[in-house]
């Protein structure tokens, strides 16, 4: 087994095989090499299933890659809770980018344990930055709470919605709309897209200082992509993000420590048969964490 710091050294020299093996090593062990540079440029892309995130990312990747950026895409996909397996098919929608030297696409199963994705996502982004990947795009599953949590790990967030779905208004309730830096309404070639965009704009305008952009795009036809890329380039990470990112890292490390706790199964059994209360369970966990370290 090659040492991860050796892998990092050769990955930094441009060896794709080492980079790829390094990401596996981080995913499997949770270990990460020491990286000095600050985390780089990370765009999160989120939105409801079927809104066209992957196709849109494919288009944006092409723009960035043609202008000389080195683009890495991390596509997160759901892990089946039943079998533990995952079907990672985002490759299908990013056709034509598989041979560019400056495009790297990696599928990442969203993990077997809750909270397990973010502790590895962070070092993976660090490694990619260290290896000279200048545009890192993280595509998320598209639904649920984990969504919100991954959104907090990136330094800018693009929210994608389709026409006449209304999902994005639902997203407002979940807080995703609040987190988004740029909003794209995809499938502008279909009827309803411009009114959907208008709807979102008017919803944003309820807050007087909200000047976030709502962009109409068609990933399929390639319309509006240049404008979207320019807006994303211009957007500065909000200064509230730093705090949110640290909070999220803390929570996810905590979750990971919790689910990998040696006594967790016993404690859950005891909770099931009612011999301890939830509060007691927390006390047991916290005190043993304090004694034994995480």
């Amino acid at each position: 087994m090659t040492d991860i710091s050796d892998l990092l050294e050769s990955a930094k020299l441009g060896d794709r095989r080492s980079l790829s093996m390094l990401i596996s090593a981080i995913s499997e062990s949770g270990d990460s090499p020491i990286i000095n540079t600050a985390t780089g440029w990370i765009l999160g892309v989120t939105g409801p299933p079927g809104s066209g995130k992957s196709t849109l990312i494919g288009q944006m990747v092409r723009k960035w890659a043609s202008s000389g950026e080195r683009v890495a895409v991390l596509a997160l996909d759901p892990t089946s809770p039943l079998s533990g397996g995952s079907l990672l098919a985002d490759r299908i929608r990013m056709e034509g980018d598989d041979l560019r030297e400056n495009v790297f696409v990696r599928s990442i199963p969203s993990g077997k344990t809750p909270g397990a994705i973010s502790p590895i996502l962070w070092p993976i982004c660090g490694v990619l930055t260290e290896c000279g990947w200048t545009r890192i795009i993280v595509e998320t599953v598209g639904t649920g709470q984990s969504e919100f949590r991954i959104a907090a790990l990136v330094d800018r967030l693009l929210l994608v919605d389709g026409p006449d779905r209304g999902d994005i208004i639902q997203a407002e309730k979940a807080g995703i709309l609040e987190l988004a830096d740029v909003i794209a309404v995809n499938k502008s070639d279909l009827p309803g897209a411009s009114s959907a965009a208008q709807h979102i704009r008017s919803s944003l305008s309820l807050a007087s200082d909200d000047n976030r952009e709502v962009v109409l795009v068609s990933a399929k036809e390639g319309h509006g992509i240049q404008e979207l890329v320019e807006i994303i380039e211009k957007c500065e990470p909000q200064n509230t993000r730093g705090k949110m990112m640290m909070m999220e890292r803390l929570i996810s490390e905590w979750d990971a420590a919790l689910v990998s706790h040696p006594e967790i199964d016993n404690i859950i059994s005891e909770l099931c048969d009612g011999s301890i209360t939830v509060r007691q369970a927390i006390e047991i966990l916290v005190s043993s964490m304090r004694d034994g370290g995480l």
């Binding site: 794709r16 598989d98 016993n266």
Partner: protein
């Protein structure tokens, strides 16, 4: 304790990263999708490439995804040129430890040549998906015991024999 007993065998369950690819120009991928789904249900992480990938693209995907296994599905009759080419390129790109299997419409007389290229199993139409899972288990056990099983390994072993 009861929960622990349920979880322990799962923890030792082996999960592999598998790329399922469609080289060549045929446009039918139901078989590839059925296999992908079965492997997922078998607990593996499956990356499906989509249709009409060139050998170069497939090798790149196997590298970037750091897959341990590559499954190739062809129905067009181009297997005899494309699959050996993919095997060669895997080896050239330091991916000789990848386990390669093939499926689709592959005549009996062509199978031996594929084995010589480093393919470890060929599955024809009507194969129960559990066969593919059994093959992967067997291949993995061989790999863990240090027996040659990768596409670049010198091995006389194949699943069909």
């Amino acid at each position: 304790m009861r929960l622990l007993e349920v979880i322990l065998p799962l923890a030792t369950y082996i999960n592999m990263r598998i790329v399922i690819a469609k080289p060549g120009l045929d446009g039918h991928d139901r078989g590839a999708k059925v296999v992908s789904r079965a492997l997922r249900d078998g607990g593996h992480d499956v990356i499906y490439t989509g249709l009409r990938k060139t050998p170069e693209e497939i090798v790149r995907i196997v590298n970037d995804e750091d897959a341990e296994v590559l499954g190739l599905s062809t129905l067009s009759g181009a297997h005899d040129s494309l699959i050996p080419k993919i095997c060669e390129q895997l080896i050239e790109n330091r991916l000789g430890s990848v386990i390669v299997f093939a499926g689709g419409i592959i005549p009996e007389r062509d199978i031996e040549a594929l084995f010589r290229s480093g393919v470890r199993a060929v599955f024809g139409p009507g194969t129960p998906t559990s066969d593919v899972l059994d093959f992967l288990n067997e291949a993995l056990i061989r790999k863990q015991n240090g027996n040659p099983v990768g596409v670049g390994d010198d091995s006389g072993w194949n699943w069909n024999d």
